[in-house]
Symmetry: C2
Subunit: 142 residues, 2 copies
Amino acid sequence: MDGACVFCSDDGGRIVFRDSYCRTVIADEPFAGFCRVIWNAHVREMTDLSPNDRSHLMKVVFAVESSLRELLSPHKVNLASLGNQVPHLHWHVVPRFADDSHFPHPIWGAAQRRATPRPVAADFPQTLAARLAAALDGGGRR
Amino acid sequence: MDGACVFCSDDGGRIVFRDSYCRTVIADEPFAGFCRVIWNAHVREMTDLSPNDRSHLMKVVFAVESSLRELLSPHKVNLASLGNQVPHLHWHVVPRFADDSHFPHPIWGAAQRRATPRPVAADFPQTLAARLAAALDGGGRR
């Protein structure tokens, strides 16, 4: 726990999955379906986790990728664990579309165009939560 | 195999680890120790791999992260699988330093400063290869 860390003091978005190790949130970012998977404890690098904890976190990341592909049919999915500004282990899971503001460049570079609006379904959080619960409940460590 | 794909037609850098599933190369990029872990077959997304193949690829990625931390002591490690321009599964494993050209921003955005030169040891490729062989030989699938 680090009092100055945003992921220690705040959920980081709307929670769609949580267990005792990590949580998945829908991020407040201008990319449809952008999720983050955040390790609950204040840990810096993947290799600071035990191999079992690493596997668990990646299992959640891949369940999010899989659910987002099913729900949004993105052109590509981007996965990244950077943490340069917030060194609290978290993964960005970003559905990418050929007409999004930055494609085919990473979302962290210069925008290439005005994004085509891509509203998600009103029940997207609930649907995503249900898919993650089905994919992860009983299938992994709790 | 896709004849137009650079990772189908070229190793992608200097190889420091290879097995029948994937390879690790030192990338030709202006960031000291920047490695890529490239799946050998032309596969698009992590969730297009079987769970066992995913685990194997991540095991290699984490062995690279661990070896780079031991050899270079970076301030942070960045991991990313994007593939928007080359949709052939590969991971960027990027040791980051507080005085590198882009820190604390992702390497794909605008440079923040002229990078402080950070030459790696002349035997860095051999040392990294030896560490990866020790970490991965016999410990995973071949």
